[in-house]
């Protein structure tokens, strides 16, 4: 017998004990798409620097749905459904490009860059025959237009016009950190990495709301002092618990008995033959922090790991897998040395990254069990069973905070529902 979404949620009594079926249940997954990705939430679409000129477009996904980000002649950024209103044809296939108008290849319905339908062939018929009825109004068949939020060069969109303003959505606790990276200097795209991770999309959020694991799983981080529990750190979440920031200040690695003693992954004496990969140079905008990892629920992670910056978009592809799209970027006025530095440090991240590869692997290992031991559960009780912020990294509070919010929304007990 198939377990229903409500039965799974019923088992999910409290956010510190997470039933395996939330990672595998198909009905639950459909509800997540509708509530989070297609509901009253802002989802990541891209960077304005990806569509700098009039006519530029980028095709991407919000949830599983194809969308197009466009730049129109007035300089506005639009996000429209990548779906012709006539027969549902995906209008654009290329990831990036430049067009004058959005024209469907099938019957050449023609839309402006903002999605307005401006022409259909044979509207008045041919030689007095056929054509559309007199009451067929073009603008009533425009592309679905998503509400757009632009924030210092990064673009989000939502299918629900009632979603609150983007700053309100981030919340006052998160926005300062968001604004820290996106502070207004024009961005420069350095390139993309794409991977399909065979795990549920929420596992990626858990990973970046989990300051417990980097000092254990990621030998590279702990050995070179890029992230470890004896660093000054802070875990921030918004009032609803859905977004989070993991913030830390780097120390200099090496041995600290309390932290590295008994940790098999700590490699004392590990030396790099070429240290350029950890040639960290402080940037003016950092303040006291060397690492700020933000999870902006439900669709993106914003990475600042010393000089390496990326957005990591989550595109769910069914309950058991998601695409993880990394857009590495810097600032337009970066020196050539800084760009090179960001690119060297990028070796730590992405599908081949010294640390990120490990995250993809362990997420897959988790999913493999969740799909077979369906009565299993995950435990999130480090630092108690409560939710909210913390001033250290020996905690799973951010995971619990997310699932508190998740349960409220999924059970229909939240205003964002």
């Amino acid at each position: 017998m198939v377990t229903t979404a409500d039965e799974v949620l019923q088992k999910f009594e409290a956010p510190h004990r997470i039933p395996a079926e939330i990672y595998t249940n198909a009905e639950l997954y459909e509800r997540e798409l509708n509530k989070f990705f297609y509901g009253r939430h802002w989802c990541y679409v891209g960077l304005e620097a990806e569509v700098p000129a009039a006519g530029d477009f980028k095709t991407t996904f919000v949830g599983e749905r194809g969308v197009i980000m466009t730049r129109d002649a007035e300089g506005s950024v639009n996000v429209v459904e990548n779906r012709c209103q006539h027969k549902g044809v995906r209008l654009l296939q290329s990831p990036f490009g430049n067009v004058k108008r959005l024209v469907c290849p099938y019957h050449q319905w023609c839309y402006k860059m903002n999605g307005t339908l401006i022409g259909v062939p044979y509207r008045a018929g041919v030689q007095g025959q056929g054509g559309y009825p007199a009451d067929f109004v073009l603008k009533e068949h425009s592309l679905g237009q998503l509400k757009v939020a632009r924030y210092n060069g990064i673009v989000f969109a939502t299918f629900d016009d009632d979603t609150p303003s983007f700053p309100e959505y981030l919340g006052s606790a998160i926005e300062p950190y968001f604004k820290r990276t996106f502070h207004g200097r024009p961005l420069k795209v350095l390139g993309y990495n794409r991977q399909r991770i065979r795990g549920n999309w929420k596992l990626m959020h858990e990973n970046i709301k989990d300051p417990y694991h980097p000092g254990l799983l990621h030998a590279f981080f702990i050995t070179f002092g890029l992230w470890r529990p004896d660093q000054r750190s802070r875990m921030v979440t918004d009032a609803l618990g859905r977004h989070a920031c993991m913030i830390s200040a780097r120390n200099y690695g090496g041995r600290n008995e309390e932290v590295t003693g008994g940790i098999s992954s700590f490699k004392e004496g590990m030396q790099l033959a070429d240290a350029r990969i950890i040639d960290v140079v402080k940037e003016d905008w950092w303040g006291d922090h060397t690492v700020v990892m933000q999870t902006i629920f439900p669709s993106v992670i914003i990475q600042q790991q010393v000089n390496s910056l990326s957005t990591r978009q989550i595109i769910p592809r069914g309950p058991g897998q998601f695409d993880f799209v990394w857009t590495h970027f810097g600032y337009e006025d970066d020196s050539a040395e800084m760009t090179t530095r960001r690119l060297h440090q990028a070796n730590l991240f992405g599908p081949a990254g010294y640390v990120s590869l490990e995250d993809g692997e362990v997420i897959e290992f988790s999913q493999q069990s969740h799909e077979t031991y369906v009565c299993g559960q995950s435990i999130a009780e480090l630092d108690g069973r409560g939710t909210g912020p913390a001033e250290h990294m020996v905690t799973e509070t951010l995971i619990r905070s997310m699932y508190r919010y998740y349960l409220d929304v999924m059970r229909g007990q939240h205003a964002a529902d």
Binding site: Y192, A273, D274, L343, N347, A352, Y354, L357, E361
Partner: protein
């Protein structure tokens, strides 16, 4: 290719390509940096980045030190599911040649086999190389770009392509 010398060079390049693939397929990762010159560059780069002139690569090593560090991290540091690789190579083509350097390219198709799972296609693409002719003992890569068409990587890219 008319002269014997050209034929010999072509065969030496083909042999180098095959030796590189065998090295990876046999899991002899420690020998990988030896295929490069002292300042040799290796990149595994998505074709979309290459074609658009975007510099990001999934793996980017500049010089022997970085190549050796990559080997060390893969062999001794990183956590991942063990796997076999199998390279199927197309024949190389020489694009141009000067006194001390050859530019060549060739297609690759790399399968990956993990325990408890059928073999899967990891990546297809092409090598685009600059090969040094200065070392008379052995051809070495000044630059080896593994430009992959398979943009969506099946989770992890553990080993260099």
């Amino acid at each position: 290719m008319q002269r014997t010398e050209d034929v010999e060079l072509y065969l030496a390049i083909a042999e180098t390509y095959q030796a590189y693939a065998d090295c990876m397929d046999q899991g002899q990762l420690d020998q990988w940096p030896g295929f490069f010159t002292e300042h040799g560059v290796y990149k595994a780069q998505a074709r979309e980045n290459f074609d658009r002139g975007l510099p990001l690569a999934a793996i980017a090593c500049a010089g022997r030190g970085m190549l050796e560090d990559r080997v060390f991290v893969i062999s001794k540091v990183m956590v991942y599911a063990p796997r076999y690789l199998r390279h199927i190579l197309g024949p190389p083509r020489i694009l141009s040649r000067t006194q001390n350097e050859v530019r060549s390219q060739g297609s690759f198709c790399i399968y990956q086999t993990l325990a408890h799972r059928p073999t899967e296609l990891l990546s297809v693409g092409r090598y685009q190389d600059r090969i040094s002719l200065e070392d008379h003992e052995r051809l070495k890569f000044r630059e080896r770009l593994a430009i992959y068409d398979s943009l969506l990587i099946p989770n992890s890219l553990v080993f260099p392509l």
